[in-house]
């Protein structure tokens, strides 16, 4: 047993080393690139970001779009996960498979699919015209709405899996007890099941938010001129303009913001834990 433990500790250290080399080092490199311009230490790139209106606007837009899509994903994801967790145990694998199946395909291809669905000749606009007449104008493509739809589609499987695993861990006897003691199914859900599933919700929210805030492909394909997000600006600055320093600075600002939001979420989660323990 002791030897086994030592073996796992070793594996753990290897993982830590991997993290340091493959994650911390590149991030440090990004930070250095952003402050070390032409052999000089300077905060100019950060000054540019915070003093130019457009970067501030895009930053706000990124946060806004990420928050909205995280909320929508959580609602749909929770409903789906709850539905799957209630299926007969044998069938759950099948339902999960359906949710995850979309991830087997490249995101680019899936987003082109959305382009057709949301487009002029797509089913949604056709139905809208049928209901409200030919003259009604509705455009979905190249808007924030299209971007949010794309992001929700992209992060949904991650959220469903997270919430599903926590829902599965909740003892069925708890809800039985609650119902037997006279609580309505609605009350049972909100007072028993939902609080217990919160860790999964927070984990899903963290994942959804970080994926949404850093997405680059979705706005590129589904968004219009006003829907560029921070990662698009970072890409443009680095690849098209060739200004690595500015691109790195934008990426780092985005990273800091994501980390801040995640810390907020995990603080919420911890508070939730204590609350449920003290009850």
């Amino acid at each position: 047993m002791n030897r086994m433990q030592r073996f796992y500790t070793m594996l753990g250290w290897i993982a830590v080393l991997y993290m340091l080399l493959m994650f911390i080092y590149p991030v440090l490199k990004v930070v250095i690139t952003s402050v070390w311009v032409n052999g000089q230490f300077t905060f100019d790139n950060y000054k540019t970001i915070f003093s130019t209106a457009i970067y501030r606007q895009v930053l706000v837009k990124t946060l806004w779009i990420s928050i909205v899509s995280t909320f929508i994903t959580l609602i749909i994801g929770y409903a789906l996960a709850n539905f799957i967790a209630k299926r007969p145990a044998k069938k759950q694998g099948f339902w999960l498979m359906i949710v995850i199946a979309s991830m087997f395909m490249s995101l680019t291809v899936r987003l082109f699919g959305w382009m057709i669905v949301l487009g002029e000749k797509g089913p949604i606009i056709q139905l809208f015209r049928l209901l409200f007449g030919e003259k009604q104008e509705l455009t979905l493509m190249f808007s924030s709405v299209a971007v949010i739809i794309g992001i929700v589609h992209f992060v949904l499987p991650f959220v469903v899996l997270n919430i599903y695993t926590t829902l599965k861990k909740i003892e069925p006897s708890l809800s039985e007890a609650s119902i037997m003691l006279g609580a309505s199914p609605m009350r049972t859900f909100w007072k028993v099941i939902f609080p217990l599933s919160l860790p999964g919700v927070y984990a899903g929210a963290s994942l959804a938010f970080s994926l949404a805030a850093s997405t680059f492909l979705v706005p590129t394909i589904l968004g219009g001129p006003k829907d560029s997000l921070m990662s698009n600006l970072a890409y443009n600055s680095t690849i098209t303009v060739g200004n690595m320093g500015l691109g790195s600075a934008i990426s780092f600002v985005l990273l800091i913001i994501i980390v801040a939001v995640l810390m907020g979420l995990s603080a919420l989660e911890r508070r939730g834990h204590h609350a449920s323990e003290s009850r």
């Binding site: 895009v58 082109f112 057709i116 455009t139 006003k226 060739g242």
Partner: protein, 350 residues
């Protein structure tokens, strides 16, 4: 393997490690011990790769037994300058990228003595660094103009037609693209010294734009699905789409268009310098360039290439057509490029 199991576990692990290590050794040896010479060329993907293989790579291999031409994915300047060109012999890039890479010292200079077709190339085919040395040869020309759907809108005659009210929300232009900026400069009658009218024009046009696209192939899907009816685009792709049955036409507006050049260069650290130059020379031959004109509607850069019929009318062909388009002075533009692109980003994301 039970003889190992009976001994202790360490022997087992050492044994397994030995097997894996030797397997990896064999595999890596397989990769490197090829007898023939391999030349790695980056390419643009899709149909371009097919045509390049058919008219350049395969015939070149046949003429040079023992040589293998391998296509590699597109490698941009950001990757090249970070050392991403270590396994590449030839890069194919847009003219400005080649000139930029040359100025950064990433490419080998090219000299007349190594190329049989040197004297036959149009002067626009040479891609020069800021000190005037040739670092790349253009193998195909294109024209930057306006593509439009003739079934849904009338023929545009000016770059200013992109913000006609009847096409509002149905227009696409390229994202952070100097040729578009240069044409806006012409349409607004201004010069490099005073760019304000250009930025004002971009502010005005942005509400009409469905999307600023970021890859050459993007308008294809946008036209096919009727999301746009007008686009700043280049002739080759638009004509290919037209021949495939999509309602689309291409025009050079009255203010003119930009000469698009796709060039080839030898990477400085390539170990096959001579062979690489030979392959570039081969891509300049009439046979190869006719293939590109016929299948991709790209114009020849070798003045001895003969094209006939429709193809001759469609593509950028002949001295007059080539000099009728603006060839950007990239080395001059580079001094303003970053400022322009960041300003572009600012005015269009509002």
């Amino acid at each position: 393997m039970h003889f190992i199991k009976r001994k202790n576990k360490y022997t087992y692990w050492i044994f397994m490690f030995g097997i894996i290590a030797s397997l990896m050794f064999v595999l890596s040896a397989c990769g490197s011990s090829s007898e023939s010479k391999e030349i790695v060329v980056t390419s643009f993907g899709g149909k371009y790769d097919e045509v390049f293989t058919k008219y350049v790579a395969k015939p070149f291999e046949e003429k040079n037994p023992g040589v293998k031409v391998k296509l590699a994915p597109y490698t941009g300047i950001a990757k090249l300058s970070q050392g991403g060109g270590s396994s590449i012999d030839i890069v194919q890039l847009d003219d400005f990228d080649i000139i930029d890479a040359a100025n950064k010292g990433l490419l080998s200079p090219l000299e007349k003595k190594d190329f049989t077709s040197w004297d036959k190339l149009y002067e626009q085919a040479f891609l020069n660094s800021k000190d005037g040395k040739v670092f790349g040869l253009t193998n195909v020309f294109g024209a930057w103009g306006i593509a439009y759907n003739p079934e849904k809108t009338t023929k545009p005659t000016s770059w200013n037609d992109l913000w006609r009210t009847d096409v509002k929300g149905k227009v696409t232009m390229m994202s952070q693209w100097i040729p578009d900026i240069l044409m806006t400069q012409k349409a607004t009658n201004t010069t490099m010294e005073n760019m304000n009218p250009v930025w004002e024009a971009y502010k005005k046009i942005t509400p009409s734009i469905a999307q600023y696209y970021s890859s050459f192939s993007a308008p294809e899907a946008l036209f096919k699905s009727n999301q746009v009816v007008m686009a700043s685009w280049f002739d080759g792709r638009a004509l290919a789409l037209k021949k495939a049955g999509t309602p689309i036409d291409f025009v050079i507006p009255k203010e003119g268009g930009i000469l698009i050049r796709s060039g080839m260069s030898v990477v400085k650290n390539s170990k096959n310098q001579d062979l690489a130059k030979k392959l570039i020379d081969f891509a300049m031959t009439p046979e190869a360039q006719q293939g590109f004109a016929k299948e991709l509607y790209y114009g020849p850069t070798n003045s001895t290439v003969k094209l006939d019929g429709d193809v001759a009318d469609d593509v950028v062909y002949g001295k007059d057509k080539i000099s009728g388009l603006t060839t950007p002075d990239w080395n001059n533009i580079f001094t303003k490029r970053e400022e322009w692109l960041l300003k572009w980003q600012e005015v269009t994301s509002r």
